[in-house]
């Protein structure tokens, strides 16, 4: 047990901090708690996460399948469900696209150059994370609503932003704004600028440098950011709820349809849609774990 513990710990530690093995194995014994305490702590941790995280997940699938697989499939092939799925995919695709471009440009500007106010700029990018989802929707209602700053102008030009796809996209983009940039900034900071400088001084153009040198180095980071951004974009509820107007079959995304069906006591249908979103979350987590392993490997190979 001690040996396995030591090996695992060594893998967890960055290798430069790894002390000599023999002294480690001896001390390891004293660095832990009595067996009874260990078991209590593990039991508490497992119980807490089982009750608060695993059970809610299980309930989603149990409720969705409570009337059998046929009722489940019928709920998912309902026209309203299908239109919600389509809308969710569309809104997420646009928002993720916008945030991908933004994330790449912001990370390039922030990590490849020195300028004053950098920390401030990063906190501005992080801002949407600390804004309540409802407020994220509200700000767009204040801008584009009938009583809003741009409302009358939009009405004169017959442009519909609120209660339509553009409003959903804006609110979703706001909420997911920091994801890609946040995934890339620390990664690109660590990679430095030497490789790009070498490419440029050898005569490569800026775009060539980006696509041939930078992008291969950060591809896992880009995927990581896109993955998390997409999960949040597809699952966003509060912000989207405020700007959607809940027009059936038109502006209901999947999370909004979950709410509507639930409030109408159509529990199987509601949990069926919810189960799709829960699967999205689980797939996202699995993919995230795999990507994190790639990112760690990349980091280690760069160190060596």
């Amino acid at each position: 047990m001690t040996i396995q513990m030591t090996m695992d710990r060594e893998r967890a530690l960055p290798h430069k901090d790894r002390p000599a093995a023999p002294s480690r194995a001896g001390m390891e014994y004293r660095r832990t708690e009595p067996r009874a305490v260990r078991i209590c702590i593990i039991a508490l941790a497992v119980t807490f996460l089982a009750v608060f995280v695993v059970l809610p997940l299980v309930v989603v699938f149990a409720e969705a399948l409570s009337k059998g697989i046929l009722a489940y499939l019928a709920a998912l092939s309902d026209p309203e469900a299908l239109s919600a799925i389509r809308l969710t995919l569309l809104v997420a695709a646009i928002s993720v696209g916008i945030n991908l471009v933004f994330g790449l440009t912001a990370a390039w500007a922030i990590t490849k150059f020195e300028f004053s106010g950098k920390t401030f700029l990063i906190s501005l990018i992080d801002l949407p994370f600390s804004v309540s989802p409802v407020i994220s929707g509200l700000i767009f209602v204040l801008l584009f609503g009938a009583q809003g700053f741009l409302g009358p102008w939009l009405q004169n030009h017959q442009l519909q932003v609120l209660f339509a796809v553009p409003g959903l996209v804006l609110a979703t983009t706001f909420v997911t704004f920091p994801f890609v940039a946040r995934a890339l900034i620390p990664l690109m900071q660590e990679l430095g600028t030497q490789e790009e400088e070498a490419a440029i001084s050898l005569g490569a153009s800026g775009l060539q440098t980006f696509f041939r040198v930078t992008l291969p180095n950060i591809k896992w980071g880009v995927l990581y950011g896109v993955l998390l951004c997409n999960a949040r974009a597809m699952g966003e509820f509060g912000a989207v709820s405020v700007v959607s107007g809940h027009i059936r079959g038109e502006t209901n995304t999947m999370p909004l349809l979950v709410e509507i069906l639930y409030n109408e006591y159509q529990f199987v249908a509601s949990f069926a849609i919810a189960s799709l979103l829960a699967m999205l979350a689980l797939i996202t987590l699995i993919a995230k774990t795999i990507l994190e392993r790639h990112l760690d490997e990349g980091r280690l190979s760069h160190d060596d």
Partner: protein, 277 residues
């Protein structure tokens, strides 16, 4: 801001910085500024009347009070989870580690209906709890439960890296100087985790204060009893009382900014501490 201090041979500073500032302004800064502009249309008296009305005050009290309690629970349970994940090896540890992120990844509406079904009077957990006289769903307790759920990852993920990186030598030194295990943990290890613990607490608190989707299904949403502030904003909007909605939002936003400020301070504190150690 847009002046490169050190000349770099890399191209694209003007372009990428320009695009970054444009995106940032269009999507984040201008819409947020609009909120404050809208509030400035209110006189101070009007603003105060909205914010200090009984229903608004109750909603703010419920959101902030329960969010703080939930963050405290997460502080304690998060520390226990981190300890188990970092210090012990047991079957299923990696799975447990991955599960911690579920509240991040699960859409809030899904969490909301799931918790509501789980804790409803006939639910898997609601039924046994009702048998001992504890009603969870459609009461403030339900809000508290949902806020615990949503805050789980914050304490764990901020403390975990710090505990992993903690220098084993200080612990060994404490032990060889005669401290027993309890003393080593409470006097040596926990104090060095304090900045991370407080950061996790603040982040979990901030998230729970603004939380909407996972709370409204289980809350019952009774004015003055189980109505959270974000829901009151939505209600005011649906009544076209924009000024009310905006005033509540400004209070919450200012609180959120204060929390970010505190978190930044905490992180700076953690860094200087790490340097002096």
């Amino acid at each position: 801001m847009a002046v490169a201090v050190r000349r770099s041979i890399l191209p694209g500073f003007g372009l990428t910085m320009g695009l970054t500032l444009t995106w940032l302004s269009v999507i984040v800064l201008i819409p947020l500024a609009g909120l404050f502009l809208k509030t400035s249309e209110l006189s101070l008296d009007q603003f105060w009347a909205i914010v200090s009305s009984r229903r608004t005050l109750s909603a703010l009290k419920i959101s902030f009070g329960l969010a703080f309690l939930a963050a405290l629970v997460n502080l304690v349970m998060g520390t226990i989870v981190v300890w188990a994940l970092v210090r012990y090896r047991f079957p299923g540890r990696r799975l447990l580690d991955a599960i911690v992120d579920v509240p991040f990844a699960l859409p809030t509406a899904v969490a909301g209906v799931a918790l509501s079904a789980l804790f409803a009077e006939k639910g898997w957990l609601g039924a046994p709890l009702a048998a001992i006289g504890l009603k969870v769903a459609f009461t403030p307790v339900g809000i508290f439960i949902a806020m615990i759920f949503i805050g789980i990852p914050f304490v764990v993920r901020t403390v975990q890296p710090v505990l992993i990186e903690l220098d084993p030598e200080i612990e060994e030194a404490a032990t060889s100087l005669g401290a027993n295990r309890w003393q080593t943990v409470t006097r040596v290890i926990l104090p060095s985790l304090v900045p991370a613990l407080l950061t996790g607490l603040a982040l979990a608190f901030a998230r729970a204060v603004g939380e909407y989707g996972s709370v409204i299904f289980i809350a019952g949403n009774l004015p003055n009893v189980s109505e959270i502030a974000p829901l009151l904003i939505v209600i005011r909007l649906s009544e076209f009382r924009y000024a009310d909605a905006t005033a509540i939002a400004v209070v919450m936003l200012v609180a959120a900014f204060l929390i970010i400020f505190v978190v930044n301070r905490l992180q700076r504190w953690a860094q200087t501490r790490a340097l002096t150690h």
